[in-house]
Amino acid sequence: MQRTPLHEEHLRLGARMINFAGWEMPVQYSGVLAEHEAVRSAAGLFDLSHMGEIEVRGPGALAFLQRVAVNDAAALSCGQVQYSLLCTPEGGIVDDILVYRRGEEEFLLVVNAANRAKDLAWLASHAGPGVELEDLTFRTALLAVQGPQAERIVRGLTDLDLGALFYYQFAEGEVAGRRVLLSRTGYTGEDGFELYLEAEEAVALWRALWAAGQPYGLKPVGLGARDTLRLEMRYPLYGNDITEETTPLEAGLGWVVKWDKGDFIGRAALERQKREGVRRRLVGLVVVERGVPRHGYTVLSPEGEPIGSVTSGSYSPTRKENIALAYVAEQYAAVGSAVAVEIRGKPVAARVVKTPFVEPRVRRKG
């Protein structure tokens, strides 16, 4: 199993480690609920070094990204980040990714750990001349500081102008004396940063962030709370909520697909689906009766007919209710629809609610 450069730090902090996509990762330290709460009320420190980083560069880089990803990479200026999707010709989702524009002909793609090898092969199979791909995953560490105190914690460690850095923007410079790519992004819905750097510098940066964060209530946060935090925001988890069998339109990610940028892989299939309408939608559910919806549970109509299935479900520490994301048949997808989730053979009442489940507090421009 692969280990991140911060492995020893996690053990020292009492983390419980699990295998995640071939990486030995901390799932929790003090406990999921306490870690979740720390991120919502103060700050959390994450090791996300399992994430894949793939550099795309060369004179053909932009045209290549326009073809393999559904968002409009030409709309990115240097220093901006974009959420995008790789799709199959059938419109299924190969992966959801972040695209960083570091230069006119230089992009960094951040991909899911579980999809890294698949994505690399997919990208390589579509790359023509003028496009160079390089997998930086194993020499790159990724740390995140997320929460309302994140800016105060990072501010004391850098000369970079954080006031000028808004959501989905990044800067390159030094934090705690280490050369980093500092990105105002995250997977929690809170303000915060993701910091990319050379793997051998990771321990020093982790310790500096840790020390700087202590007066502000910063806690280390594992994958368990990362999942509950993202679920409250309705951020999709690849493999659960989005897969090659689901399309951006079904997943509520139609906003990512830019129709006026020319051709891209999956375009024809997605246009057809848009024209004909989707048959199912990914919606947010809140359980009205007692029970925790889980991945794979069947969603039922009020009459007890199967109408879909849960893709992610959990207790929401912020709402103190049980919530889920589920694909349901189009006619049940409207906010307010009464449905049920089958839990251990019994229908448990739920209703479709507006998402995100919890209001994000990211730092948007303007």
Binding site: V27, Q28, G31, V32, L33, A34, G224, D227, T228, R290, G291, V292, R294, S314, Y315, P317, N322, R344
Partner: protein
Amino acid sequence: MYPEGLKYTEQHEWARISGNRAVVGITDYAQKELGDVVFVELPAVGTTVSRHDSMAVVESVKAVSDVYAPVSGTVVEVNRALEENPELINQDPYGDGWLVVVEMADPAEAGELMDAEEYQQLVEEEGE
């Protein structure tokens, strides 16, 4: 490490036997393995259970775990407080975090459960 005077199962339940009644809960090891408990489903009072039957469900943020009857009998009391405060299982697994009381059909069954020392050994083996 594990309270003397309780009986234990291989599925990490404990039973406090007094007369023909058994108070049942999950062990400290089990609650730590589960993590923060956020949901408990209890049987109805009056339910008949056989030893090894699933009789309750304890869920943490990430995991769903069945609680098996350590002895056969009838559920005569359940800990309703857990429905509002499932975290009692984490905070006090042998006290306020108890789950149910079973009136035993065959008190001799209790003799087949592990004592604290045997259970300790089992946990150590699992930990390896």
